[in-house]
């Protein structure tokens, strides 16, 4: 298949774009059109998802040539027959199939040429957009003369290429600055954020909005597309007859902005500001945003020819970067982890009960009620319950402020929540998730209480970050119904859910837990049971190393900048404060017992001294840093430094350079991850990468620990670890699987 793809690319590059005698005999499968009076309606209908695949581009070119050649046609409507998408983007496989930057550059140039023809079309083209209009699809739309979008919740516009380490390679970096002005264009292209239809209208990205329709003589989806087409056909006629002007009268603000932008030094100032901002946010670890600035600049300062050339060449270069490959890998991984590989559960969970209305419990309740799951939130005290219910309310109310939901939707979501102190109604629960304090005896007590009141089919899920599930399930009468569901805090923001199965957990229980997690909008990894499962187990040695680094006299701020400089979104010292020093101490002690000296490093006593002083991290106001409500600036907690003084270690100069410290932290993380795969805790490297990035903030530009090993080289990593091993011993001993990969460079975790 890859060969045929390449062949198509070659065909295209040879300029064989127009309809050939041969292809005319083949019926088109992706694009068709109908002439409605003097308007040609072109419908895109890829058998799977509408992407700018080679096939789609070829058929589109054919159709466009026929339409341009047809003198009866005065104007054109471009629409998708798919309810949920206009064009979801370029075909990623098409880009991944290329082996050199030049190949990708050629792909980009073909796209540029095609859209240039669209832009210069003598017959006005109306893009009628319903559903996702992203990436290449968005670039297609903005090359058209006029855009009409539905107000559907599924309709989003944007260029998310930057999130895949790429740039909009089919004219996006050239057209957007002209359409939106420099500041807005940078905002759209550099953030890659999705733009909702109403916002797009305000920005001037679309000219007209069409409402979604309810039930009529056809299904709402079908009729909405028909309606969009009717409106678009009318608009196309109006454009052809010049009743609708193509250029809108510019507003005063727009005129002022244009005037200011006409000064080169103003533009230069903007480039500099944006560049600085990008460097600050990415630490220079992500090449795509910088290349985007370069392309925009080339287009505006040196003219379109230079701009388009810069765009296509940089697109090619970016596609070959490890960062882009890592990000695309994560994208694919995320898609995989949004599927239930355990099949459809026998019984759908409609009634959920959450035990404990703390941060986690209330968070779990929040992401359940807004998906229509009836949820009981139970706590033992009225104060605790009230705090938890307020958290759910606030979480949903904040969404109304951002206008992502209406106040009416908030109210109707909240009607799914029942707060209570007793076990009333648990007899009808399909699943209970307990989120009580991390203490085995309390968990045992709760499990027994719950099992006494729930129906036989009800699943008992336990939310714990480190306690082995089999230990919790030891007192269960029905261990096949017991499973671990490890949520990450804050639950409504963190995408990851780590599901832990014991060897007694039934497949249907797992399928059910995954189904609930997916409904809650989570990205899910399913791992085996053991101390710390996967995520906590990877994090613990890294934090142990971080403590040692602090003991060696590295300032918390310096430690943070070393970790963020490696690509972690949150620095190690800050992370410890976020997780909670008490939790870190607790976990370090537990896992230390389970894994022995290998999990050593920093002195746990230091953490305990911190906890004794009340320095439990952000939640207590003090940890490595001092937190003051309303203040963004954080000062280092000097009292913590005083405690550190008494645990001071002398650093070994041979392994204490900035780079050494970074690799000491990262290699322990990565080695533990590989060991988890070796031991079967992890089912596959994909879930390992997704878990590390989405749950622990492993640098996304590295794509996760496994992709990092692949790209960095297992041999080089082992070499570094051996150096550290000489000083610190078994904490840095590479695991067997890592050694296997080091020995044989052809061995890769990701093919």
């Amino acid at each position: 298949e890859r060969e045929t793809r390449l062949k198509f690319i070659c065909d295209c590059t040879a300029g064989v774009m127009s309809s050939t005698g041969r292809s005319a005999f083949f019926s088109r499968t992706h694009v068709n059109y109908e002439i409605k009076g003097d308007v040609a309606v072109i419908r895109m209908n890829d058998p799977s998802v509408n992407t700018l695949s080679v096939q789609m581009q070829r058929e589109m070119t054919e159709v466009m040539d026929e339409v341009w050649g047809n003198s009866a046609v005065q104007s054109v409507v471009l629409i998708s027959s798919k309810p949920g998408s206009f064009i979801a983007g370029a075909d990623l496989n098409m880009i991944q199939a290329c082996t050199t930057a030049e190949e990708v550059t050629l792909l980009s140039q073909e796209g540029q040429k095609m859209f240039e023809k669209i832009e210069k079309s003598p017959k006005p083209i109306v893009a009628a957009i319903n559903g996702s209009c992203l990436g290449g699809g968005f670039e297609f739309a903005i090359a058209c003369q006029y855009r009409i979008a539905t107000k559907s919740k599924k309709t989003v516009l944007g260029c998310p290429e930057v999130m895949l380490g790429l740039l909009p390679g089919a004219g996006g970096t050239q057209r957007l600055p002209k359409m939106l002005g420099l500041p807005s264009a940078f905002d759209v292209v550099l953030t890659g954020r999705s733009i909702r239809p109403d916002k797009a209208k305000k920005m001037g990205l679309v000219h007209q909005l069409v409402d979604t329709l309810g039930p009529g003589l056809k299904s709402p989806e079908e009729r909405t597309i028909e309606y969009l087409e009717e409106v678009a056909v009318e608009a196309a006629r109006g454009l052809a007859k010049k009743q609708i002007p193509l250029t809108k009268e510019k507003g005063l603000m727009q005129k002022i902005q244009d005037y200011v932008m006409s000064y080169p030094f103003v533009r230069q100032q903007i480039y500099n500001t944006v560049q600085k901002k990008v460097m600050k946010q990415t630490k220079g670890l992500y090449p795509a945003p910088l290349k985007i600035i370069e392309c925009v600049k080339a287009g505006l300062e040196q003219g379109p020819t230079a701009g388009y050339l810069a765009e296509s060449q940089n697109f090619g270069k970016l596609a070959m970067t490890p960062e882009s490959k890592a990000l695309i890998g994560l994208y694919h991984g995320q898609v995989t982890c949004k599927k239930n590989r355990f099949g459809t559960p026998e019984k759908e969970v409609k009634a959920l009960a959450v035990l404990g209305a703390g941060l986690m419990g209330a968070g779990i309740a929040q992401v359940s009620v807004d998906k229509g799951i009836h949820t009981i939130l139970k706590d033992t005290t009225l104060e605790g319950l009230s705090r938890g219910e307020q958290q759910v309310y606030k979480g949903l109310n904040d969404k109304t402020k951002k206008k992502s939901i209406t106040t009416f939707e908030r109210d109707s979501f909240l009607s799914n929540l029942t707060g209570q102190l007793d076990y009333n109604g648990f007899n009808k629960a399909d699943m209970v998730i307990e989120a009580v304090f991390e203490d085995l005896s309390i968990k045992h007590k709760v499990l027994k209480e719950v099992e006494a009141v729930i129906p036989p089919h009800c699943i008992f899920a336990t939310n714990t970050s480190a306690l082995p599930i089999k230990d919790i399930a030891a007192v269960s009468k029905r261990p096949e119904k017991v499973i671990g569901m490890h949520y990450f805090s804050p639950v409504d923001k963190m995408q990851l859910l780590e599901i832990i199965t014991t060897d007694k957990t039934s497949k249907d229980t797992t399928a059910s837990a995954v189904a609930v997690g997916l409904k809650q909008g989570k990205v899910i990894i399913v791992v085996g049971d053991g101390p710390g499962f996967y995520t906590t187990r990877c994090l613990a040695p890294m934090l142990a190393e971080a403590v040692r680094v602090l003991q060696e006299g590295v300032d918390p701020k310096k430690l943070d900048s070393l970790t963020t400089g490696f690509g972690f979104p949150v620095g190690a010292a800050t992370l410890a404060d976020e997780v909670g020093i008490d939790v870190a101490a607790h976990v370090a002690e537990d896992l230390g017992k389970a894994f022995g000296s290998r999990f050593g490093g920093g002195n746990i006593e230091f953490l305990k001294s911190m906890v004794d002083k009340g320095f439990k991290g952000r939640k207590s106001g003090k940890g490595c840093y001092i937190y003051q409500p309303g203040l963004k600036r954080r000062d280092v907690n000097t009292e913590a430094l005083e405690i550190l003084e008494s645990y001071k270690l002398t650093p070994n100069a041979a392994i204490s350079s900035d780079s050494d410290i970074q690799y000491r932290l990262v290699s322990r993380f990565v080695n533990e991850a590989v060991l988890c795969l070796q031991e079967g805790i992890l089912a596959n490297p994909v879930e390992g990468d997704i878990g590390a990035v989405f749950g622990l903030g492993f640098p996304p530009c590295l794509g996760g620990p496994f992709r990092f090993v692949d790209s960095f080289g297992a041999d080089k990593l082992v070499e570094k670890m051996r150096k550290f091993e000489e000083v610190f011993g078994n904490q840095f001993t590479p695991c067997q699987l890592l050694l296997d990969h080091a020995k044989d460079p052809s061995k890769k975790f990701h093919k």
Binding site: Q208, L213, G216, L217
Partner: protein
């Protein structure tokens, strides 16, 4: 099998009307039955159920808001309707057991407008009165409340009605301003008052205007009507044609004196008003010139094919048949079965008639063919056309209503033939009584047996009622 025995006849009819299929079976087996199939039932009277009658109904002229009624208050209009009813029926004021009145946009000073209007109209102060609200079917609710009171044996004579006054609506201070003003009441010292006054910002002075929008969806009704019309593929042309029909028929009815429910009203400081003033038959060309009012630029609902903001009030006298006859009245009609329905307030906001019609027909054991007179509330021409298309669609009936087949659309010659809300006007809470009184009058005039009232209302609700002619 066929006897003159009344009860077995009723039973027979009941069986016949259960479904068309059964009808056919009978049709083949027994030719005698054919007679009964071709004719409709003689009456919907049920053994053991009280007959409840409409004695009479009146309304003030319906005027475009901001015209001659502009300086009145809602209860003034309601008073006029109530007094008009008293004059028309010659009813002794103390013979009324209860008064129920509907209103939608409430004047805060007269929140129980029923009571204020009744007192002002000179009803006995011993007659209790309450106000109901259910958007555009408020006076339908008032009437069915009356029916309920009589059926339950609690009352024998009830006045029901509705009033809407759009020339003046409550415009509130902003929430912040209200809060400050309420705190000001409680402030004890001058200093506290001054500091509260000082906290007022310019933005707090912006008023809150009421909107004809759904609270749950924040969508205005016109916008929803436009979407509904689009969902059913109702064209602008169809809507304009229907609106023109409404105005033309209303004009004809007005000119031929058919709108006998309208009473004359001497407006203080102004002339006597005795005619609706919103009836304006236009031409298709003129109507086509209007721009869409809600969805721009491609919408189809315009000012010309929508009902307009109207001031007006209506009132009806409802009695048990025995009481009416005992007092020497000749009732106009029986009020029979009624239903209320509700559905999705977003996408099916105005489809009440589609849902209510088959339900009330089923309840009465009638089919659409049995109905001689249809009076549907015309909120928007697009809404009426959408409802007609929905009623004519098997797919819609099966997919959204859980029915096997469509109920069918009413034949246009029987439909709103004296005009409707689009032309006569639509004072929200007064329309229901107008519909019922019009059905009674049309049945008398046209000699039919059964009439059907149906209406949609904000909140995604709807109503339908079967009315039977009183033997003349």
């Amino acid at each position: 099998m066929l006897t003159t025995n009344q009860s077995s006849y009723d039973l027979f009819c009941f069986i016949l009307q259960r479904s068309k299929k059964e009808k056919c079976t009978f049709h083949f087996h027994n030719t005698t039955v054919n007679i009964f199939v071709a004719k409709s039932k003689k009456t919907l009277a049920k053994p053991g159920v009280k007959n409840i009658v409409l004695v009479d109904g009146v309304r003030t002229p319906f005027l475009q808001s901001g015209t001659i009624y502009a300086d009145l208050m809602p209860h003034d209009l309601a008073r006029a309707a109530l007094q008009g009813l008293l004059n028309r029926t010659g009813l002794p004021k103390d013979a009324v057991d209860y008064i129920v009145y509907g209103t939608v946009i409430q004047e805060v000073k007269t929140s129980n407008v029923a009571r204020e209007a009744a007192l002002g109209a000179g009803f006995s102060d011993k007659t209790p009165a309450h106000t109901v609200t259910m958007a555009c079917i408020s006076s339908n609710q008032a009437m069915t409340t009356a029916v309920g009171l009589i059926a339950a044996g609690q009352c024998d004579a009830v006045v029901a009605g509705g009033v809407e006054f759009m020339s003046d609506v409550p415009i509130r201070h902003s929430r912040r301003m209200r809060k400050t003003m309420l705190s000001l009441n409680k402030a004890k010292t001058l200093g506290a008052r001054l500091s509260l006054l000082g906290s007022i910002r310019l933005a707090h002075l912006a008023p809150e205007l009421p909107a004809v929008a759904e609270f749950s969806t924040a969508e205005t009704m016109g916008h929803s009507a436009d979407r509904l019309a689009a969902a059913f593929g109702v064209s602008r042309l169809e809507q304009d044609e229907f609106a023109l029909r409404s105005h033309t028929l209303a004009k004809k009815a007005q000119d031929s004196g058919l709108l006998s429910d309208v009473i004359s009203f001497k407006v203080p400081g102004k002339d006597i008003v005795s005619k609706d003033n919103g009836i304006r038959p236009s031409t298709m060309e003129q109507m086509a010139k209007l721009k869409p009012a809600f969805i721009k630029p491609h919408g189809t609902v315009t000012a010309a094919n929508s009902s307009f903001l109207t001031d007006g009030a209506s009132a009806v006298l409802i009695m048990s048949e025995e009481k009416a006859l005992a007092m020497g009245y000749k009732p106009k009609a029986y009020l029979r079965d009624f239903v209320y329905v509700s559905q999705d307030p977003k996408d099916q906001l105005l489809l009440g008639p589609t849902y209510a019609t088959p339900k009330v027909l089923e309840k009465s054991g009638l089919t659409l063919n049995d109905i001689d007179v249809f009076e549907f509330h015309e909120a928007f021409a697009g809404q009426i056309m959408a409802n007609l298309k929905a009623m004519e669609s098997d797919w819609f009936a099966q997919t959204y209503m859980g029915r096997k087949t469509k109920v069918g659309a009413p034949p246009m010659e029987k439909f709103n033939s004296w005009g409707g809300s689009l032309s006569l006007g639509h004072p929200f809470a007064a329309t229901g009584c107008r519909l019922v009184t019009t059905v009674a009058h049309r049945l008398q005039k046209e000699g039919g047996q059964y009439g059907l009232v149906a209406a949609c209302a904000a909140g995604g609700q709807g109503h339908a009622m079967v009315i039977e002619a009183y033997p003349q």
